[in-house]
Amino acid sequence: MTISRRNFLGITSASALGTAISLFASSKAEAAEIPAIKTLHSKESTTICPYCAVGCGLIVSARDGKVVNIEGDPDHPISEGSLCSKGMSLYQVVVNERRLTKLLYRAPHSDKWEEKSWQWALPEIAKRIKKTRDATFLAKEGDSVVNRTEGIACLGGAALDNEECYLYSKLARGLGITYLEHQARI
């Protein structure tokens, strides 16, 4: 069997330590000096880089529900395993203590965030949307039916998946929003 880098990855994640190390080492003494590779016993999945739009491929290794490693996907026809400094750092987007883990709310004139639950926030947001939409809704302009609100604006989308962008577009239009813009404009 020829060992390409790709199926080497497959072997190491699927098989036992001894087998993996035997690919490198001929004796137990040598094996003891080689640290266990960090993707051992991990589950691999593929992803595409979230930074620029070249569309480079990456392999994510996860163990016990935690990402342990992310690296370039050598099988990917665009990137062939290469990544730039940002793509190489994707691991730190996933494992990063600065990430938001709680829903935060800032009350009018307050100088601090408060932690809130989704259960509280979603109806509160919906109430704001309804109040503003209903107060600013324009059914007709002159003789023309326009059915829109200019009181709410939506921004963003280039960091979202297509399916998310689609639902965002659908929901915003459903609400009658015309101020709908994102990164493509700037």
Binding site: I48, Y51, C52, A53, A62, K66, I78, L83, S85, M88, S89, V93, V94, R99, L100, T101, K102, L104, R106, P108, D111, W118, L122, P123, A126, R128, A139, S144, V146, N147, R148, E150, G151, I152, A153, C154, L155, G156, G157, A158, A159, D161, N162, E163, E164, Y166, L167, L171, R173, G174, G176, T178, Y179, L180, E181, H182, Q183, A184, R185, I186
Partner: protein
């Protein structure tokens, strides 16, 4: 790119900002290709290129118009291609004229053109009159020769500040690709678009690429290097005020009903050889309405067309923030975007946020936008805005597709669960919609468009924190299905069958499709039918690296657009060595890439999205002219050498209509050209990189890049703290004194340019001033993309600074 003989990189620093794409430039360079870099600054791309030519920011049109002139004067054009596939031979109305920077039809009181005089002369059948000899004095080709003759290399270099010998070398090398077996690729990015004439910059590139016969070819084309992983897909899905999914126009108040809308946007073609693909408009809008309103969209209620909001103004970015500043926008929903850093005239846009009653920010991080109310220099007690900051999950904690610059739609798999209480944007959007529907269940203004919105993604009717919407269901809705048993083009389909191709979409309500250009991405009902998740690396018969079974590409898995222009009238490739498609006369079918329509050669013209079927050297649809003409940026150190029109006559001037915080600087006070740019280690407005320890360590501070000559004049040394100022704001950074910026010798003076990285803000692991406090509210005449890339500024050493 790997097939190109010459690569032209202008308005892009590909090696810095798209390093892995640059790998393919390296491959083609190793095979002998010549790489040209044109930029105000000697960038990483310039150091990799064979030829570097400097050019003052905002002078692309002069630069490229001169290249077009060089091609026309020396007859370095692919004549067969130009005659057969472009509108070079079309005769233009005798009412057309051009004088002193103005095209005919201009009304100075509205700053708008009446475009009637730019029209083609039509024959009795309604087809444009043509002169295939290209001799008629009013044919596009002859008008172009006259228009571009004004851009001789001496004049061009007085405008751009380029060294004339190098400029002429660029002209010579690039136009060598006119030969059918030589191909040139054109790469650009935001250095091109972010100007008051950004659209016309790209028009100039397109005209030259068409004259040289480089469009539709392997190793050719005009390639926008997009900066965000899914900015292609987000645009495809219509997240812009003027677009619905699939590049359908968002309706205006003039579109009284669906029939009027269809009539207003469906182009007509009388030439039987024109495929006029937009002739299918009615099928795509009706299928979209069926996807959005399902059973509630019927023929009887005009397929719920009246549910769609109708616009009657410009709602683009700058207008949006001007309106917010004026207090007319009360609520903002912001998904993964950071306008407090990334928006132009950032001081004004940050103040605009104060006028909001509420804001919903959905992000992985606490961005500058989400915490605008506690930024340095403001008192939170003065700001009444309520802010909801919703934690979103990262791209490896969810599943879905994204579309890259080459329109490859690639599937991303979920590796782990979201951290903490973070949720996918899909879940958040689903939950928001359900919560709003709940609010409208009993009362509200015109609730039907909300209540009737077809919304069932497999996780129940109420919000459930533990049930994700089924992303496969959403992806299948985007593709579309048949809504009843039907027969199309002799093929029978059952209700709920996925539509296998947009050629089968209907306008009678029998089909739905959330985004017609994605039709065929998910042609079956099972996960294995998801074409976007494919990972088969077998290449197509032409072996040029199309990888047709890797992921999926819109439209119809076509990897190179307008590929029918890569062959002659008989379907034989212009370049047999690097063929894209070719007609197999025995099998009577195309081979290679998915062709732009399967008709035999000669039956249809190759530019199928244009009503005439020909590529447009001449444009009748743009608001600022049928041909590109040089105008100076809003803020410029010199007067326009080409005409008495200083700036594009068709741009909207904000400093005259909305005076507050829209000051424009003059040369006397701000004698230096400023521009902004990015570095490899940071990304956009910085939230995705300035929160990461590795990347923050690599580039921890804002720097201002200054040429050696200017630094000497200003007494600035490398590493000094400096202040950059414009009419709108000032910011501070470390001076980076380099030889990469050189002074520009222009027609009447020497001008310096400086550059600032724009990734920084007041939040994050590493912080710094935002360059966008310097940039103005002024947009491109057609797209309203702000002019980030050329403004007037001054720079000083900070008193008491190191």
């Amino acid at each position: 790119m790997v097939h190109s003989n010459v690569a032209m990189i202008i308005g892009s620093n590909v090696v810095e900002n798209h390093p892995v794409a640059a790998k393919w430039l390296t491959r083609t360079k190793e095979k002998g290709a010549i790489i040209i870099s044109v930029d105000p600054r000697y960038t990483r791309t310039s150091s990799f290129a064979d030829i570097y030519c400097k050019m003052r920011s905002g002078t692309d049109i002069a630069f490229v118009n001169g290249m077009i002139n060089y091609a026309l004067q020396n007859n370095y054009i692919h004549r067969d291609y130009v005659v057969a596939y472009t509108n070079a031979s079309f005769i233009i109305s005798d009412k057309y004229s051009f004088q002193d920077g103005l095209f005919s039809g201009y009304d100075p009181s509205t700053r708008k053109y009446d475009r009637a005089s730019w029209a083609y002369e039509l024959d009795a059948q309604g087809n444009p009159q043509k002169d295939p000899t290209l001799q008629h004095p009013r044919c596009v080709f002859q008008i172009m020769k006259k228009h571009f003759a004004r851009y001789d290399s001496e004049t061009v270099c007085k405008i751009t500040g380029s060294p004339r010998d190098i400029y002429e070398q660029v002209c010579r090398v690039y136009t060598s690709t006119w030969a059918p077996d030589r191909v040139g690729v054109w790469l650009y990015a935001m250095g091109t678009t972010q100007h008051t004439h950004g659209t016309q910059n790209i028009r100039a590139y397109s005209i030259l690429q068409l004259l040289l016969g480089n469009v539709g070819m392997a190793g050719g084309g005009i390639n926008a290097l997009r900066g965000e992983s899914n900015v292609q897909g987000s645009t495809d899905m219509g997240l812009l005020f003027h677009l619905l999914p699939g590049y359908l126009a968002s309706p205006t108040k003039a579109d009284a009903n669906l029939a009027a809308y269809i009539k207003n946007y469906t182009p007509k073609a009388s030439d039987p050889k024109s495929a006029n693909w937009w002739g299918n408009y009615s099928k795509y809008i009706t299928s979209l309405l069926k996807a959005w309103y399902g059973e509630q969209a019927t023929r009887e209620n005009d397929f719920a067309f009246h549910y769609l909001p109708k616009r009657s103004a410009d709602y683009s970015w700058i207008s949006l923030f001007e309106t917010m500043y004026a207090g007319q926008i009360k609520g903002l929903i912001c998904f993964g975007q950071n306008p407090a850093v990334g928006g132009p005239n950032a001081n004004k846009e940050r103040l605009a946020l104060h006028r909001l009653e509420w804001m919903v920010s959905v992000d992985l991080w606490e961005t500058e936008t989400a915490s605008f109310w506690k930024r340095p220099g403001v008192n939170p007690a003065d700001i009444a805005t309520e802010v909801f900051l919703l934690p979103a999950c990262s791209s490896v904690e969810k599943e879905g597709s994204i579309s890259n610059s080459g329109r490859w739609v690639q599937w991303r798999h979920k590796a782990v669960e979201p951290i903490g209480e973070a949720k996918s944007d899909l879940w958040i959007l689903d939950a928001l919609c359900k919560s709003v529907k709940q609010e409208y269940a009993s009362d509200g203004v015109f609730p039907a468009p909300i209540l009737h919105l077809a919304w069932n993604y497999g996780n129940g009717e109420s919000v459930d924190a533990h049930r994700e919407p089924d992303v496969q269901l959403v992806a299948r809705e985007v593709n579309g299905n048949f809504t009843r048993d039907t027969s199309v083009q002799g093929k029978a389909f059952q209700k709920n069958d996925q539509v296998p191709s947009f050629a089968l979409l209907q306008d009678d309500g029998s089909s739905s499709s959330g985004c017609w250009i994605y039709c065929a991405s998910y042609p079956g009902l099972e996960a294995k039918d998801n074409q976007m998740a494919r990972r088969n690396k077998q290449d197509a018969a032409n072996n040029i690296g199309l990888y047709p079974s890797w992921a999926w590409c819109w439209p119809m898995n076509r990897r190179i657009l307008y590929n029918r222009a890569s062959v002659d009238a008989n379907g034989n490739p212009w370049d047999a060595r690097r063929w894209v498609v070719r007609w197999n006369t025995e099998a009577k079918r195309w081979e290679g890439d998915v062709p732009d329509g399967g008709w035999p050669p000669q039956e249809k013209l190759p530019f199928i999205m244009k009503p005439e079927g020909y590529a447009g050297l001449w444009a009748t649809s743009l608001v600022d002219g049928p041909l590109p003409e040089h105008y100076e940026p809003l803020e410029s150190p010199v007067s326009n050498l080409m005409s008495s029109q200083q700036v594009s006559p068709a741009i909207k001037l904000w400093h005259t209509s909305n005076k507050e915080m829209n000051l424009v600087g003059d040369f006397a006070r701000f004698p230096i050209v400023g521009t902004t740019y990015r570095v490899s280690e940071h990304w956009q407005a910085g939230a995705m990189t300035r929160n990461l320890p590795w990347l923050s360590e690599l580039v921890p501070d804002v720097f201002v890049e200054i040429g050696v000559d200017l630094a000497q004049q200003k007494g600035i040394e490398n590493g000094n703290r400096v202040i950059v100022e414009t009419a709108r704001g000032k910011m501070e950074g470390y001076a980076l004194v380099t030889r990469r910026f050189e002074p520009f010798q222009l027609h009447d003076k020497v001008v310096h340019e400086i550059g600032i990285i724009w990734h920084f803000g007041y939040n994050g692991l590493v912080q710094g001033d935002s360059a966008n406090v310097l940039t103005p509210h002024i947009g491109d005449a057609n797209t309203m993309i702000p002019e980030f890339k050329a403004f007037l500024c001054n720079v000083f050493k900070k008193e008491g600074g190191a």
